[in-house]
């Protein structure tokens, strides 16, 4: 009896499997039925597919980076082109000793809840930040004075010549004092920005409406609906189906390439401020040898790989940093050139030869092997690492790939538990890249000490203490040249900020600052 049942169930399951298969195939064929609606009065409303949820109302903590700049302003801001620009402070001056900063605040500005913006509100915010996320940035603050409603004087314990730039990161946003409770918790997202947050359904959507009283002029768009869609492919499909109007190309490698060819859509891109880097571990063989590092740098043809494999999401490396840092960059950077002959010659000079004919070089009995660690959920890096592995095999180096999750990758970088490691550059939202050397990678007291030397240290220290703008630029360029001469890293690509949208959206440009990619919505309109 049991056997009979079993046979029946077998046919049943075959039938179900067939039905499922057909459904699967059909669902693939289905095209979006609802497309452009008939012409009505054009509503200035956008639906945006966004990877990240709002997370919280607190811009100083974990509120999504990408939308803070729509709701909040800072005292000093970085504009769409990555230039320092006035935010809620109109002008500011630094005393000659760099210890007193006087800010003239914008007048007639109110928060979304009607609370006036003035020096008291600024003081409340700075005090709140000094006990929270702004602890390090504001550590030097001695006192905050408010002689009149539109003047803010900040006295520092020691000179900080980049104090104005230090106020630009998104976590330094100014929040309505009424929205901060006694415990320092932000109870509502109330800022002065171009859009007001009107509703938020966790993990589903959040909606913004325009701020009619925005000090730089109200935006043309009246309503923004952000639909939370973590998966890039789902966002792309929603855009193709017309369910959303706009998405960011962030982490959407293949989707962007496909959407680009869709006649109903257009893409805009701009080089962002961050780059992808590959560090060598200079403290361990074989990359303690400059020649081996140079050989690797010469063996990888980034000018071919990046456009072919990463397409619009990145540009091949042109300098030490992205061009966003314009004036601080060395005008004639010595970027490694793709040259296989030179690469092989360097390895031979370093004493590596293939004595057993297996295609992998050896030196005193050790094979030329290396591990390459990268973030396992980073599609671009994964693809490039596989391509690097192939390229390096060509010069006789065997590379083992080590995919890691984000936390493990960071730990490996901190503990120098790697030989080669590909990571995204720390993206300080700061127009001056000094922090990258001082606390990032290149000073002996920095977090990751990728490469350090007494000369480099002294230059970096000098930069931290320098006030003269010309001298600062010179020091920046010297530091970059000194680092590049030693090849402790390879700049892999400069990441583009990409927006994909319906053709009827005009004047929408991505900003250079990755964290404020949607800031251009302030100018955009639907035609």
């Amino acid at each position: 009896m049991q056997i009979v049942n079993y046979k029946k169930s077998k046919y049943l399951s075959l039938f179900i499997a067939a039905v499922l298969l057909v459904t699967l195939l059909l669902s693939g064929c289905q095209k979006a039925a609802i497309n452009d609606s008939p012409t009505k009065a054009i509503k200035q409303e956008l639906v945006i597919g966004e990877q990240f949820d709002l997370v919280s109302y607190d811009p100083s903590k974990n509120m999504s980076d990408f939308v803070r700049a729509l709701v909040f302003n800072s005292l000093v801001e970085i504009d769409m082109d990555f230039k320092k620009s006035p935010g809620l402070a109109e002008t500011w001056t630094m005393s000659p000793d760099g210890k007193t900063w006087t800010f003239q605040l914008r007048k007639n500005v109110v928060f979304h809840d009607g609370t006036p913006w003035n020096s008291e509100a600024a003081k409340t915010n700075l005090k709140w930040l000094a006990n929270g996320s702004g602890k390090n940035t504001l550590a030097a603050v001695e006192s905050i004075e408010t002689p009149d409603p539109s003047t803010l004087i900040i006295k520092l314990k020691k000179p900080v010549f980049t104090f104005d730039s230090d106020l630009t990161p998104p976590f330094m946003s100014m929040v309505s004092p009424k929205a901060i409770d006694e415990k320092g918790t932000v109870t509502a997202a109330i800022g002065t920005g171009p859009f007001k947050l009107v509703s938020w359904q966790k993990d589903n959507n959040f909606v913004m409406e325009r701020n009619e009283q925005y000090f730089a002029g109200a935006p043309k768009l009246t309503k923004l609906t952000f639909k939370v869609m973590p998966d890039a492919e789902s966002r792309a499909m929603a855009l193709e189906a017309g369910q959303i109007d706009l998405m960011s190309g962030r982490e959407a490698l293949t989707a962007v390439q496909r959407l680009k060819t869709n006649p109903a859509l257009k893409i805009v891109k701009k080089m962002g401020q961050t780059s992808e880097l590959m560090f060598f571990n200079l403290y361990k063989a074989p990359f303690d040898d400059l020649k081996v590092r140079q050989a690797v740098a010469n063996a990888i043809n980034l000018n071919e790989m990046i456009p072919k494999l990463i397409g619009d999401l990145a540009e091949p490396p042109v300098n030490f940093f992205s061009t966003a840092f314009g004036k601080f960059l060395n005008p004639n950077p010595q970027m490694p050139k793709y040259d296989l002959q030179a690469s092989k010659a360097l390895l031979a000079e370093a004493g590596w030869k293939d004595s057993d004919g297996d295609g992998i070089l050896e030196k005193s009995g050790t094979k030329l092997k290396a591990t390459l660690s990268y973030g396992s959920n980073n599609t671009e890096d994964k693809l490039l690492c596989t391509a690097f592995q192939g390229a390096l095999k060509g010069i006789g180096m065997e590379v083992d790939l080590r995919p890691m999750d984000t936390a493990a990758l960071k730990q490996a970088l901190e503990k120098k538990d790697y030989q080669l490691i590909m990571v995204g550059q720390w993206s300080v939202p700061h127009d001056d890249p000094s922090m990258h050397y001082i606390s990032g990678y290149w000073h002996s007291k920095s977090t990751y000490t990728i490469f350090t030397s007494p000369e480099l240290d002294s230059r970096i220290d000098k930069l931290a203490a320098s006030l003269d703008a010309q001298e600062r630029i010179k020091l920046h360029q010297e530091i970059q040249a000194e680092i590049m001469k030693n090849t402790p890293e390879m700049v892999i690509f400069h990441r583009n900020n990409v927006l994909v949208m319906k053709k009827n959206i005009e004047n929408l440009n991505p900003s250079v600052g990755t964290w404020q990619i949607f800031r251009g919505l302030t100018q955009a309109e639907i035609k």
């Binding site: 492919e233 792309a236 293949t254 494999l309 192939g390 080590r402 995919p403």
Partner: protein
């Protein structure tokens, strides 16, 4: 028995498919037209042509060569793991069932604890702790799959040990090894075989599954599960990159299922003859 075997079309089809895979895996290096790992950046996503019988993938590698070479890694790993779990599982299960007592209690509690976790999750945890790589994948999958063998073998040994012919052998003065190898093992071996065949299909799925999650072989090595994972972002534009390795896994899984089920149908009467309880047969189905 053997004539019966070939009269079952299920088994025949399964065996033919399996034979085909085995031949392909053995002859793989001779069958591939291109180096499966070689990257050609100037020929990404090419359609099928004379040089690349199934086109190229997202790094310009020959899809056909990769598909063929992958058979070695997937099947090789599956057979290796099968060997490991067969030895470990049968030994542990056999000892527990034969000697019973405290040994059985300890072993059965360990098995029960491990069975409380879904197999793939346990393998995932172990592979996650050990880190990605083929060796670690083999350890992780083996650590999960011996449990099934141990439990089934233990139950079968307990049933068979109570049969008259075993009692007879004991009274004739046979020692433990004689009883185990001459009387018990030959009787349960066919059932272990069925279980092993069904399990092989599952093993291949597990290997591919873990590789799909990035815990198995590492690039550039081709493996069906890893190929599926790598091709995932390109599915909308180049579905063949995912469908081909997917089909390869599906068909070999089907082959093992057909063989295993066919064998079980044949063995069913024998099981009742031996007085093996129905639940053992039911367990084979799991």
């Amino acid at each position: 028995m053997s004539r019966k075997l070939w009269r079952k079309p299920m088994i025949l089809i399964g065996c033919l498919i399996l034979l085909f895979y085995m031949v392909v895996a053995c002859l793989a290096p001779a069958l591939v037209p291109n180096n499966p790992d070689e990257i050609h950046l100037d020929s990404l996503f090419l359609p099928a042509d004379a040089t690349y019988p199934l086109g190229t993938d997202f790094l310009g590698r020959c899809s056909y060569s990769r598909l063929i070479m992958a058979s070695r890694h997937t099947l090789g790993a599956a057979l290796l793991i099968e060997g490991i779990v067969l030895v470990v599982g049968v030994t542990i299960g056999g000892l527990a069932g034969y000697f019973k007592g405290w040994l059985d209690k300890v072993i059965i509690s360990i098995i029960d604890i491990l069975l409380a976790f879904p197999g793939i999750i346990l393998a995932l945890v172990i592979a996650g702790m050990l880190g990605p790589g083929m060796k670690n994948l083999i350890i992780a999958v083996s650590a999960v799959h011996w449990i099934g063998y141990a439990r089934i073998v233990r139950n079968m040994v307990i049933s068979v040990k109570e049969k008259e012919f075993v009692t007879a052998a004991v009274s004739l003065g046979s020692n433990h090894p004689q009883i185990i190898f001459k009387h018990i093992l030959p009787n349960i071996l066919p059932f272990i075989l069925v279980y092993a065949t069904l399990n092989l299909g599952l093993l291949i799925l597990n290997i591919a599954g873990l590789s799909f999650l990035g815990l198995g072989v590492q690039p550039p090595t081709a493996e069906w599960g890893a190929m599926l994972n790598e091709a995932r972002p390109y599915f909308r534009d180049y579905p063949a990159l995912m469908l081909l390795p997917g089909a390869a896994i599906l068909v070999i899984g089907l082959a093992f299922q057909l063989i295993g089920e066919g064998l079980r149908d044949i063995l069913s009467p024998r099981a009742s003859q031996l007085g093996l309880e129905k639940r053992i047969l039911a367990e084979l189905e799991e």
